[in-house]
Amino acid sequence: MAKYLLLKHYRGAPAARNDVRMDQWTPEEISDHIQYMNDFAARLEGTGEFVDGQALAPEGLWVQHDGPGKPPVTDGPFAETKDLIAGWMIIDVDSQERAIELAGELSAAPGAGGEPIHEWLEVRPFLAHPETVTE
């Protein structure tokens, strides 16, 4: 068993095939997209593979320690940040093949025109607990 993070980017990923900004979709297309994501998560819970799924606001702040006794410095948001995470899903699956299969399905979520977005999702394995038997 291994956990994988399926990472969805606002920016920073290669362009999707059906690359239309969400605010240009019809409201029904947006609803269908959200429904697809919810169904996907529910199905993974049913197969015993779902761990977590969260979406992030596009804009955040940068924070830095500014020395003892001083409040932290904040800055941003920076419009030029190249890589911007939109959200994630964490899955617990038997193999990397299964993680890739599921990411592929998630990437097929419908977008503009009701067609699959073909968006690029990043798949990252979690660092696990070290194995006991190593020799």
Partner: protein, 390 residues
């Protein structure tokens, strides 16, 4: 057998949980289907944890059977079905001791059935044989309880039509137990101890040298656990472990089990792995380890498994037995890209007197590490070598 509730009234849930498979076996024997019986036994265990500290039963197993059977009947809403099941009770003679042993063994086979995915087999074994709750298993594997509940429920459906009357494959059972031991997270629940307890119980129900071999392997590795991590959680490599902290009782038990298994002349991979662990356990230090024999056991293991991981570990042993050059030559036969291969090369390069190359390799190995403890260890190795001239 250890009493569930000792005369002072203290109560050990682990002892209670060990009764799980035989109680479940009795319910199934009486005609309850596996999935419903398993739920009923879980309910009975929860009830026992609540009631026993105050009011310990004289016969814990009979108590559990009674409560679980009542729960099962309550859950069976249809009166017709109930009648049928009650008829079954009357028709079925009370199982004796041999039957209970048999039931337990069949449960191991069922929970590790080849139709189940690895993760499902693990979850089902921990619950139906180990008597752990879904929540405990979910916490141990860091997934939500709802996800684990679904995993278990699907697993039960998958094996619903499997008949419990045929012997299964011991190898699949051992593999599940090995994974519980080897890949266990270290949460509140001690999965390694759980795996040992499950394997011990299996060893008492079946006469099989590989079962004893696996139990020996677990005990010999578990014995080193106190020395394997520093107080800050970082990994301590075998060469640097304080061997006085190894658990000598576990080592003695492991070695005895292994010798008994080996004397039966049916070698298998777990016995061979345990033999390697025993050679380490027997040595006062890495330099005094009988590396030549370790390499011989790796040759056996390679013959049995032809596994790339074994070939990699063999290269480490060859490096100790015949020098770093020989180790690097053995490593050349290990496929590129195998996890830990770069780390092994780094170690051998350093021993071969090339710290610069070793530092680069350690840093590269850290990036490929599959656990944070391993990554931190490898980064430290790289840092140690990089700091040598400063």
């Amino acid at each position: 057998m250890t009493p569930v509730v000792d005369p002072h009234g203290s109560f050990d849930p682990a002892v209670l949980r060990r009764l799980t498979p035989s109680v479940l076996g009795i319910l199934v024997r009486r005609g309850a289907d596996f999935a419903a019986a398993e739920d009923a036994v879980q309910d009975a265990l929860v009830e026992a944890v609540r009631a026993w500290p105050e009011d310990p039963p004289r016969d814990p197993k009979a108590w559990l059977v009674t409560v679980a059977w009542r729960r099962f009947l309550d859950a069976t809403r249809s009166e017709v079905a109930r009648r049928r099941r009650e008829d079954l009770v009357e028709a079925e003679p009370d199982p004796g001791r041999a039957a209970a042993t048999d039931d337990t063994l069949q449960l191991y086979f069922l929970c590790a059935h080849p139709s189940l995915s690895t993760s499902s087999a693990i979850a089902l074994t921990l619950r139906a044989v180990g008597g752990l709750t879904t929540r405990q298993i979910a916490e141990a594997y860091l997934v939500p309880e709802a996800t684990m509940a679904q995993r278990i429920s699907r697993a039960k459906k998958t094996v619903a039509d499997v008949r419990l009357d045929r012997a299964g494959d011991v190898g699949t059972v051992l593999r599940v137990l090995y994974l519980v031991f080897n890949e266990g997270y270290s949460g509140d629940l001690d999965l390694a101890a759980e795996a040992i307890s499950l394997t011990r119980q299996l060893a008492s129900t079946i006469d099989h040298p590989e079962v004893d071999g696996l139990l020996a392997l677990m005990l010999l590795h578990h014995a080193r656990r106190p020395a394997r991590t520093a107080p800050d959680g970082s990994l301590v490599p075998l060469a640097e472990q304080d061997r006085s902290r190894w658990d000598t009782r576990a080592i003695t038990e492991g070695v005895d089990l292994l010798q008994g298994a080996l004397s039966r002349d049916r070698l298998g991979e777990y016995q061979a792995q345990a033999a390697i662990a025993a050679l380490h356990a027997d040595a006062p230090s890495t330099t005094e380890t009988d590396w030549v024999q370790v390499v011989e056991w790796y040759d056996e293991l390679l013959r049995l498994t032809d596994s790339p991981v074994v070939r990699l570990n063999r290269a480490v042993a060859v490096g100790e037995a015949d020098g770093a050059r020989a180790g690097l030559a053995a490593l050349a036969e290990v496929e590129e890209g195998l996890p830990r291969r770069v780390a092994v090369e780094a170690h051998l390069r350093e021993r071969d007197g090339d710290p610069g190359r070793a530092a680069v390799l350690y840093a590269a190995a850290a990036e490929q590490a599959t656990s944070s403890a391993e990554r931190d260890h490898l980064v430290r190795q790289a840092a140690r070598l990089n700091a040598r001239d400063r």
